[in-house]
Structures are given as C-alpha cells and as structure tokens.
C-alpha cells in the first residue's frame, strides 16, 4: 500500500500508459550538508531526462522517475531504495544512482538480488570495477583506481616523468567518510610503486574546521596536496590553506572537489587551485543548449537557482543522464524498443 503512494507521490516524467515507461528511482539529496552537490547533480540528471522525453523518449519509450530524499544518509538511502525500487505504475526499473559511496555499499547486495543495476559515477568500490565480483554494479567514468592514477600521472607529468616522483612527498587530505577513505588503499599501492611518500590526513565530517590539518601540512611541507573533499570541506580547505600560507596551486582537487560550489566560496583563496575532471563546466555544449531551449526556457527546469545551470555538478548530472540513457539505448538494441527490466539494462 504505502509503496505505491509513496513513489507515485513524487513521480516525474511524461504521462505514459502505465507500465510503458522506463523508470529511474532517484535517491537524491537536496537538503543537509551536501545539498549543493546533490541538487546540482540530480537537477542535471532530471533535466536531461526531461530533454529526452521532450524529444520523444528513448526510441519512443518515455522515461519516468521518482525521487526520495536521502540527505546523504545511508539508512535513508536504503529506505529510499526499498521504497522506490519498483515503480508505481509497473514500469520496469532501469538502474539506481545513489551518488553516495555509503548508500551504494548498503544497497549493493540488494541490487544484485533485485537485479537492478547500481550505477556509481566517478566513485564506488574499487573492487566493483571488475564486473565479475558485483555483476550489477557499474562504476562509470572514473573509479577510485583510475582517478588516483590520473592524479599521479598528472603530478608525474609536472615533475617530468613518473620516474621523477621517487622521493617526493604528497599529502592526501580526505573526507572522513566511506567515500573519502575509499582510495586510501590504491594510493598506498601507487605510492609504493612510484616511491612517493604519502601522508594521509583525515578531515572529520563535515569539515568546517581544518586548522590543525593544514598546520600539519605546512609542517610536512609536501610537494602536493591531493584534496579528496566533498561539500563544505573543499572551500574550507582552500581557505585554511591560504591562512597558513600553503599555495593553492599545489593543491589538486579530485573529482568531487572541483565544482563551482567548492571554489567560489573560497574566493581569492581558490586562485590557482587545480582539479581533475571528466567533463568541463560551462553551458556551451550542444546538449546543454538543447536542455536550455527545450526544458529550462519552458519553465520546467529542475534547478531552483537557474544560475547554477552549467556548473560542474549539474553537468555531471547531465553526463550521468547521458550514460544511463545510452545504456538503455544499447540494451534496447539488443532486447527491443520497449521499457526494459534492470536485468536487461545490465
């Protein structure tokens, strides 16, 4: 009983015949400490799906979705998973995208049991890259391993070759959450391989105060600081770095420390800050222009603040939407142009 009402409550998308759409449960977060990231990402994701629907769906199959607020909280995420995993009108479920390592972990076994793909874009368990361990888990784009090695490669390139890294000193400043710690193992491996000495320093959630961490960094005086931040931890890191006099251009933000929301509040302190990314921010891309024309200008945009159109988190959401939708498209090529089950999408 509950389930039906709950999911229909916030169901979005086009009105299609019951059971005839491709359904995406969205474990989103728009309040709480990480609301900025969540609302940007899911805003982009939803706008992209609206675009697809405006263009007639995926091969004629419209997309539908329902949202449930997790506040980036694992338990809430699980509850949302259970609540939303089946659509209200019987449309088959394509995949879940919790955008949280913690929630991803928690729903991993369930995803396998329920045969619903679990998509983790630019994050996720290191061991999920190998599809045989968790057949229903898909880390898209970067995974912890590729992310860290990209950073090492970049540092190596700066230094004039990976072999030049030997003896260098790096500090990893990471968010005290499953996500933050996820790469620690990889970093150790790579550090050992390249002969880099690494200090890993944790910033307790949410990261409002980093005085001592940065004093310590200044004392260590490393060549580079890898910032594996999330939410408020990022601007505070940049500001505190400035305060203790650590140069921003020797801080490398990872994929979750690269948004406008991370740099802008730090103001001048962010000048020179480097971060890796899988997609640029900006609004000039064709797909964004299409979204603007067909979704936002029609007043259907999901963002409360239109200024955030084209920001990193938004664009990541769009990219995530593209990848999800393309997955459906690929699967349709194999199984036919109809709403597919999670098993088929996989």
């Amino acid at each position: 009983g509950c389930q039906k009402e709950a999911s229909s409550a916030q169901q979005g998308g086009v009105t299609a015949a019951p059971g005839k759409s491709q359904y995406f449960p969205l474990q989103s977060y728009r309040v709480g400490p990480y609301a900025a990231g969540g609302s940007g990402f899911f805003g982009g994701f939803i706008d992209y799906m609206q675009l697809i629907n405006a263009q007639g769906g995926v091969n004629g199959v419209p997309l539908s979705w329902a949202e449930c607020e997790t506040e980036y909280d694992v338990e809430k995420g699980v509850e949302c998973y259970e609540r939303l995993k089946k659509s209200a009108d019987g449309s088959p479920t394509a995949a879940t995208n919790p955008l949280s390592v913690g929630i991803a972990y928690a729903t991993l076994d369930r995803s396998t049991t329920d045969k619903i793909p679990l998509i983790t874009i630019n994050h996720g368990r290191t061991d999920s890259t190998d599809g045989s361990v968790f057949p229903y888990v898909f880390p898209l784009q970067l995974n912890p391993y590729s992310e860290v090695s990209a950073i090492f490669n970049w540092i190596g390139a700066k230094a004039g070759g990976l072999d030049k890294l030997r003896g260098k000193h790096i500090v990893v400043l990471y968010h005290g959450s499953p996500y933050g710690k996820e790469t620690n193992g990889v970093i150790d491996t790579l550090a050992a391989r390249y002969g880099v000495s690494v200090d890993k320093i944790e910033v307790p959630h949410p990261g409002n105060e980093q005085q001592s961490q940065w004093l310590k960094i200044r004392q260590i005086n490393p060549e580079w600081v890898i910032l594996r931040g999330w939410g408020v931890m990022n601007p505070v890191a940049l500001k505190t770095a400035r305060k203790v006099g650590f140069p921003a251009d020797h801080i490398i933000g990872n994929i979750w420390s690269n948004s406008e929301e991370d740099a802008a509040p730090a103001g001048g302190a962010a000048k020179g800050f480097i971060s890796i990314t899988t997609h640029p921010s900006g609004t000039s891309f064709p797909v964004l222009q299409q979204i603007k024309a067909q979704v936002i200008d029609k007043g259907k945009g999901n963002l409360t603040d239109p200024k955030r159109f084209g920001t990193v988190y938004y664009n990541l959401g769009v990219v995530n939407g593209i990848l999800n939708v393309e997955a459906v498209r690929v699967a349709q090529a194999k199984f036919g142009k109809r709403p597919l089950t999670g098993e088929e999408v996989r």
Binding site: Q213, L215, K239, T304
Partner: protein
C-alpha cells in the same frame, strides 16, 4: 618550539570563534534555563539571510539591520508559540522543543534562500601575518577582537544591571518572577533577540571563513564542549573555555593524531570537557548547583 607556539596560538584563536557560538547558548540558558539547541540553525538562518540580501545589492549595514529585525521577529514568535505554552515544563521538554525549532529554522532558511554555497567577504583578509615571530591569520585576530568585545559588552549588559538581574530571576523561578512584576515575555524576547544578534555575528564570521551553507549549523557541535567547560551560565567562562578547547584540540590533532589516529579533534574536546567536569562538576565558571535540604 616556534611551530608548537603557532599551533597553540592558532588553536586558541579559533577557539575564540567557538566561544562566539557558545555565547548564544549562555544568553538563553541564563535567561530561561533553556538549553537552546537551535542556536546553530539560527546562525545558518542569519548568515544565509544576510548574504542573500548583500548579493541582491543591499548595503552591508542595511542587510545587517534587516537580518537582525528578522531575528527579533523570530524571538517574538518563539516566545509566543513555543516558550509561553511550554512554561513550567521540564528542562528536557524545552530542550526537545528547541530541537524542533532547529528543524524549522533549517527548513525555512533553505526554502527561502536555497541550498547553494555562498561566498561572504567581510573585507578582512585571511593572509598569514607575522606577530611576534609567529605566523598567524589576520582574520583570526580580527575575529578574536570582535568576539572579545562582544563578550565584554554582553557580560556588562547581563551582569549586575537590572536586565541581568531580571534574566537570572526569570530563569530561577518564573512564577516568583511574575509575582514581583517582571515581564516574563519581554525578558524572554530580549534574551532570544540578543542570542539572535550573537548568531548573526557568529554567522558572518564563520560564513566568511567557510562559506555560507548548511554546515554552518553544525558548528554547535564544536561549541558544546566549550559551553560545558565554561559552565552553562558564564559568558566570560566560554571565552576561557574556548581558548582551552581550541588550543587543546589543535595540539591533540598535531601531536596526538599521528600516534592514535587521524581525526581526534572530532571527540577530543568532549574528552577534555569530561576531565574538567571531574574536577569541577559544573564547569569552570558555572553556577554551583546550590542545593539545600
């Protein structure tokens, strides 16, 4: 040694910023015996309102005044709809009610002003400056000065003045306070308005430091041990406690962290508070629980 001193002093300075948050608690606790957990979300509310006004082109002082007016209005509403109906209830009930309040403040601020992160520039630079050979942040020094003067002013206003006496009397026994002609509502509104003012100042300083966004409401967790060590009732006490906590936490993170693990500062202050409580069960400057039989 130089490094040690820098850690110590930088910690002490940021401890004063915790104290800034803790004063809000003390004001309300002194005046009504209410442990106001909503202080953190009041800070969020104040800072978000202010920064959004400024971003819409309102001049600094006008925005400041407007936000303050809003907070005073909130004080009236809280008195009327929360505290008055709950008068004479147990302290734990009142505490829970302020938890409810904090949800309302958080929801309201985010509905009104959205969830994105705002930069706030108070025009105080955050570059390291050298003081007596130590490298310190000029922002910290300015913040300390602001907090210090606030404490002095508030301590004077709520000390031996009539207002101070009224605040304490109402907290001690509301019925008796009424019987001698004190205006319960007015005293409560004044206390909450003062706390709102402190929240605004704290919100600006913390907002300038870490950006104005949701996590501002979480600094109460840093302020609580300061409040406990200082004693719930002493305005001056929180400054001393703030310095102790800030310095202790910094030292612990730097010197203890490597041996027992990262992130000790998450709980260290509470451990410190416990140690102080063992020696003085009502904090350094807290009112003794005068009990007679």
């Amino acid at each position: 040694m130089q490094f040690f001193l820098e850690v110590l002093v930088a910690g002490a300075l940021s401890g004063v910023m915790y104290a800034l948050v803790a004063i809000g608690f003390v004001l309300i606790y002194r005046a009504s015996g209410v442990f106001n957990f909503a202080q953190g979300s009041m800070i969020l509310f104040a800072a978000l309102t202010f920064v959004n006004l400024v971003e819409r082109g309102v001049p600094f002082w006008l925005a400041f005044g407007a936000t303050l007016l809003l907070l005073i209005a909130a004080a009236f509403a809280i008195e009327r709809f929360v505290l008055r109906p709950l008068s004479n209830r147990s302290v734990i009930t009142l505490f829970l009610a302020t938890l409810g309040l904090s949800y309302i403040f958080e929801g309201l601020s985010q509905i009104a002003w959205g969830t994105q992160v705002h930069a706030l520039d108070l025009g105080i630079s955050d570059d390291p400056v050298s003081v007596a050979g130590l490298s310190l942040s000029s922002f910290d020094i300015a913040a300390t000065a602001i907090a210090g003067s606030l404490v002095v002013i508030l301590a004077l206003v709520t000390g031996k003045t009539n207002l101070g006496l009224s605040l304490r009397a109402v907290a001690a026994d509301p019925l008796a306070a009424l019987s001698i002609g004190l205006r319960l509502e007015r005293v409560t509104v004044i206390a909450w308005s003062l706390a709102g003012f402190v929240a605004l100042v704290a919100g600006l300083i913390w907002g300038a430091r870490s950006g104005v966004q949701f996590s501002l409401s979480l600094i109460v967790l840093k302020a609580l041990p300061v409040l406990i060590i200082g004693g719930f009732t002493s305005i001056g006490g929180v400054i001393v406690a703030g310095v102790l906590v800030g310095a202790g936490e910094n030292l612990a993170a730097i010197y203890l962290g490597p041996t027992i693990g990262n992130g000790v500062e998450g709980w260290f202050a509470y451990g410190l508070a416990l140690v102080f409580l063992m020696a003085r069960p009502t904090g350094l400057f807290g009112q003794r629980t005068w009990a007679r039989i």
